[in-house]
Amino acid sequence: DVKVTQSSRYLVKRTGEKVFLECVQDMDHENMFWYRQDPGLGLRLIYFSYDVKMKEKGDIPEGYSVSREKKERFSLILESASTNQTSMYLCASRGDRPSNEQFFGPGTRLTVL
């Protein structure tokens, strides 16, 4: 069974803190993604990675960075958390074509105070 896991379900941080969100997939997928989910805005792509050490910016990369040192693990980093980064963060993975299906983790609810 396909599985994407995220390190925390809930996280509370203070403004200015460095925040790490971890994601692990067990499907040997090449592609991994980080989204944020906000009411009325759907899911917006922050960054994705199509291979180890490779990354591409999504629609809203500002204030975020990512790291992919191993194929199964993709990290999202908030260098200096701000209150407008309070959101639900979702990780996903996808194999190569022909399937475009993305498999999502359960999400991390981040609150920045």
């Binding site: 009411p39 899911l43 917006r44 996808r94 475009n100 993305q102 999502f104």
Partner: protein
């Protein structure tokens, strides 16, 4: 500016009724249109998807209708059940850019017993 516009934001339907969610897009480079279903506390999961070479796709009680000339597509849930209560997201993927999934804003569906 959302590239995929989804309506309504919320929907209440009686058990046994038909739920209809609509999406519209502008980018003619989109060539794959999936719908994702998200239950509370879970990540989204692929429900059904369509390519623009067909006007309709049916899987059980779920049907996608696609109107290429109008750049619109919709999800119909026949005989809606309380277990269908969830948030639904339409999405679109451009040709040769399988990692660039663009989501609509989401529709929260409640099916009343």
């Amino acid at each position: 500016q959302q590239q995929v516009k989804q309506s309504p934001q919320s929907l209440i339907v009686q058990k046994g009724g038909i739920s209809i969610i609509n999406c519209a897009y502008e980018n003619t480079a989109f060539d794959y249109f999936p719908w994702y279903q998200q239950f509370p506390g879970k990540g989204p999961a692929l429900l059904i998807a369509i390519r623009p070479d067909v006007s309709e796709k049916k899987e059980g009680r779920f049907t996608i209708s696609f109107n290429k000339s109008a750049k619109q597509f919709s999800l119909h849930i026949m005989d809606s059940q309380p277990g269908d209560s969830a948030t639904y997201f339409c999405a679109a993927v451009p040709i040769n850019a399988g990692n660039m999934l663009t989501f609509g804003g989401g529709t929260r569906l409640m099916v009343k017993p």
